[in-house]
Amino acid sequence: MISDRTKLENPYEDHLATIIDYRDLTSDTRYYKLKFVEPEVQEHTGDYKPGQFAMFSIPGVGEAPFSISSTPTRPAFLEFGIRKVGSFTDALFKKKEGDTVYIRGPYGNGFDMKSMEGKDIVIVSGGLGAVPLRSVLLYLEDKRELYNNVFFLNGARTPEDMLFKEDFLAMHAREIIETHLTVDKDPTGEWKHNVGVVTTLFEKINGRVDKDNAYALICGPPVMYKFVIKELLKMEFSKKNILMTLERRMKCGQGHCGHCAIHGVYTCLDGPVFNYWDYERMVELI
């Protein structure tokens, strides 16, 4: 990964990466682990921030942006959680271990993890939103001593739908980060954690967050934001410390193609991480 794209002769420069591992996370979402082919590129694999994304390219199919799900603190490989929803992911899902894709990036502002040091952090994700936030979670586990209280609230429709379920159950057991998991419904009856929408988890952290020194990081389906933000505002979170990461159509990743524009900002350059003030300024954000 080449984090400063301005230094490149061609900022569209991409690099071949090999799929070294993959597995199904749910019926339609798959985990991919990749490694760059060229050693001099592989050396810089960890040159990104949690919350940034990469552009994948499959010749003959096209390009598409994906959130990085691994942490730069473990720089030997890149990980992604990818849902099969369109023509690009149809082609990607046909690839097996040892196959390659082109990757360029990282792109986007990502989360400023430095500015959160010493603070409380509440991470709230729903569904596919767990993908970019997993990067933050792993980062925080590796640098836990730099942060104050860290809470993770994650929701999914059913236990089968929970992405990175095994990872998060292990995270719950490790207790480095206080992890609360919930499902909207539990058809199996075997779910040992909370049942209810993700906002029902807020009672577990109520009164335990230092509102003046806390950040909230949110990612999930559009409908989730409204309810989660309501809870956070009830807890008197500062609006600029409520951070959310968004999705938009993108063709270039570097502020040229125009597709990800929202009012005067480009999701690819100025985002995908925005705060609640940004939302109040730009009604179309969510």
Partner: protein
Amino acid sequence: MKTYKLMKEDFPQFLSLLQEKGNLYGPVKSKNHYSFEKIDDLSKLTFDYTRTLMGLKKFVTPPKYKVKHFDKSGSEDVIPEDETNIVIGAHPCDIHAMKILDKLFLGQIKDPYYKKRRENLVIVGHSCLPDENCLCTSTGTDMVSDGFDLFLTELQDFYLVWVGSSKGLFIIMSSEDLFNDKIEMCDIAEYTSWQENRQNSFKTTIPFHLMPDIVHLIYEEDELWDQFGEKCLSCGTCSLVCPTCNCFNVEDKILIHADEVVRERMLDSCTLPYYSVVAGDHDFRPDRTKRLKLYYTHKLKEYIGKWGQPACVGCGRCVTYCPVGINVKTVSNAFYEAIQCVREVKKI
């Protein structure tokens, strides 16, 4: 800025000189519009025109071009080759539009495809007279002092040639006998009187400087926007002809005869239906009103906020070509009309 006189009888020689330096393009009349075309026959050139269908953007972000080529051996960027393309006849608004595109594509992150095409381009501007659709006095783009290599102001018997770059100066130096750097007082008088006459022939003004605030304050007045949304055909003509519209799409094409793929970039428009659709078919701007809002907030609000000028150069192309009359003029006027209150607003 160095300025020279070029006598009209020497103009054909000047054109031949340009042809020696590179591929010459200039305004040519087609059936019902003008466009910048490659000039082999100098008699086809016409400078008595108001606007071409597309501005200079077709030289730097062509409607469709290859960016990458893949085959079994790997991938290769398709960067245009070194060549000199000279376009003559660009008007001040066209040159201002190019400056806006330069800011975007040659900012911190430089687009290599644009960069090469831009470096290959020599711009010889030409003076113009406005028609009723020209808005460049409102956008502050009626005059131009940089962004060109040479600029010709056509007067009675001669051209005033303004030199805007060293590339332009080299052209002059290579045929010095055509140009005279002695500008007489009466030449200046002729120029100022021409300029005055031109300034007086603008018929339309729109106070764009208030637009950012107005667009912001009326942003959620849906009825106001819907009157345009309901009419819009989502045809994308406004973006195609707008000299500052640069949005592009990228598509891969598999070549049928071999294991080869080309990746192509093509002009796109935020008014087209799929513009904001993400994977899983979620559409952030499902209706025409929402897409037009993006178009006009970008042109009239956000760009002014960021760069202090609208992303509109007042060329009048949208005014001329939108088939249903949605353009910077009708949209801005509708906003101004909407805020004409019945109640008298006290002047502060």
